[in-house]
């Protein structure tokens, strides 16, 4: 007897919206209860928040009297936007910062668009020439008026500290990780000591040391810029954390990869650069980006040494007698901006992981 194979579909109950709801939200009585409770929470939280941020908020005006006080007063942010974004940087020189932003934006977007040519050159430009442009444009020289770093502030300062910290700490962290795993005992010991000291100290302490203690050890008359001292502190602090993240990736590499590289005659540095690091860094992308995000947010601590970063300056403008009582708006705005930057990093890391995935 040859029974023809009958084509049967999945049970109807699993299909469509109803099926999805049943499976994921109402699969049994306590899940149903949780779903209903969750919906209730959203109901009591979302509408007031939307009202406060958008519907009842005031967007147009120039003084606090233009605000109805029923919702958020975004006029507060709008009137102080220059301080919040650029600190005390001279108004007539702001184009210099904006130009730097523009260069960064254009080359960043260029690198993000797939299948464009000459990406290597754009990357090299960003890593080698762009930093020089930044230093000249931002601090002055070559005919540009000098702008002292004590005038730097706001989101601009946050981006400078986080950017320098992130970009410089990765290579230093990689070198420290390689050093810690070195077969040479002295190198390994020095790297281990360096990493453990920086990791064992809170960032606040590092910043205090950089701004208050460091000058005491310097000969009289020698004066390092405070921002540079803070940058060095943030950079080494972040590098120590990254070193351990990278070391984790290095340890996950199978021994066969080292042996195969050696067997084809690659020297230590070529083996690391061409075979080991590309794979182990790829493995720890999520942790590396996690470190970057942490450093980005930790830059807010520079307030304790008298540098007014993004958050610091928002708190500062909130103490202006004309704008007392608008700290909620300030914090919500700060949170939103921080989230955008951190999420952008997170998004980029996921994209990178997908792009580099070659299976295992």
């Amino acid at each position: 007897m040859s029974a023809a194979r009958k084509e049967i579909g999945p049970p109807v109950i699993e299909l469509g919206t109803i099926g999805w709801l049943r499976k994921n939200l109402f699969s049994n009585w306590y899940n149903s209860l949780l779903t209903i409770f969750g919906l209730y929470l959203l109901y009591i939280l979302i509408p007031p928040l939307v009202n406060w941020i958008f519907l009842d908020a005031n967007f147009v005006g120039s003084t606090r009297d233009d605000c109805s006080n029923e919702g958020a007063c975004w006029i507060f942010i709008q009137q102080n936007i220059k301080l919040i974004f650029y600190g005390l940087y001279p108004t007539e020189e702001l184009w210099r910062i904006n130009l730097v932003y523009l260069i960064l934006l254009i080359s960043g977007v260029y690198l993000l668009i797939p299948n464009l040519r000459h990406k290597g050159w754009v990357g090299a430009f960003l890593l080698i020439i762009f930093p020089i442009i930044c230093v000249v444009m931002l601090s002055g020289g070559f005919g540009l008026e000098a702008v002292e770093t004590r005038l730097w502030g706001g989101l601009f300062l946050t981006l400078v500290i986080a950017g320098v910290g992130i970009v410089l700490s990765l290579p230093i962290g990689v070198m420290l990780a390689l050093g810690r795993r070195s077969k040479l005992p002295v190198v390994s010991l020095l790297c281990t000591i360096f990493i453990e000291i920086w990791r064992g100290v809170p960032l606040i302490t590092v910043l205090f040391m950089a701004s208050n203690m460091f000058p005491l050890f310097m000969p009289e008359g020698v004066n390092f810029d405070k921002l540079i001292r803070a940058l060095i502190g943030v950079m080494f602090f972040s590098a120590a954390y990254l070193a351990e993240v990278v070391r984790g990736g290095l340890q996950a590499m199978p021994k066969g990869q080292y042996e195969a590289s050696q067997a084809v005659g690659l020297t230590y540095w070529r083996m690391m650069a061409l075979v080991i690091l590309p794979q182990s860094l790829k493995m720890v992308i999520p942790a590396i980006i996690g470190s970057f995000i942490a450093i980005f947010k930790d830059t807010t601590l520079v307030l304790v040494i008298g540098l007014f970063d993004f958050l610091g300056i928002i708190q500062f403008v909130g103490t202006n007698p004309d704008w007392l009582g608008f700290s909620h708006e300030g914090y919500v705005f700060a949170a939103a901006v921080f989230w955008v930057f951190c999420y952008a990093m997170s998004w980029y890391s996921q994209r990178l992981e997908k792009k580099l995935d070659t299976g295992r």
């Binding site: 990869q257 195969a260 050696q262 067997a263 084809v264 005659g265 070529r270 580099l356 299976g359 295992r360």
Partner: protein, 245 residues
Amino acid sequence: MSSELMIEMKNVHKWFGELHVLNDINLEINKGEKIVICGPSGSGKSTLIRCINRLEEHQRGNIIVEGTELTNDSRSIERIRGEVGMVFQQFNLFPHLSILDNCSLAPIWVRKLPKSEAKDKAMEYLKRVQIDDQAHKYPAQLSGGQQQRAAIARALCMEPRIMLFDEPTSALDPEMIKEVLDVMVGLAQGGMTMIVVTHEMGFAKEVADTIIFMDEGQIVEAKNPKDFFDNPESERTKTFLSQIL
């Protein structure tokens, strides 16, 4: 007879901690010779061939490869690694590179060949092991047998004068063993000097000039295939052969 000495091992000893893994190894291998090494696991056969390209360091005795003695001098190690290709049990292809890039990496960075020339050469060797159609795939997309053939091509791209095989078919599914052995037989017929650690006795019979039986770090017996299989001298060899044949 104009035999050219390729590898010379004199009184080589090696210990892993207290364990004496190589015990007074003496071996001379001439150009074009094919040596098969067999023996029970832990007998030191892998360690022996790994000493030849310094993946393991011997502690006593001398190893001379093509007139260069292996010492701690990194230049002598580099020179020898350039002459000696190796194929591993676990393939050890670089998973982040395409098959083609796996093959052209070392020629570009060690031999300093121009990129296009290195890729042409890689394609040539991939064709020889019959996976040129897979050149742009990543290792994870290939079967075990294809990966091992790619690994052989990667080693050949450095144009080595000696090839070491460390149990090249032990990690393969049975139906893929033949395709890898066929490549190795072809290589042997081309006159390559080969040292092969394997349990494939059929291959040994067909290809080897000398079969070496190792046990407990020592070379117990070294004979041509006919004598090895027909008149083994030592009891240990006989026991081993009775177990695997």
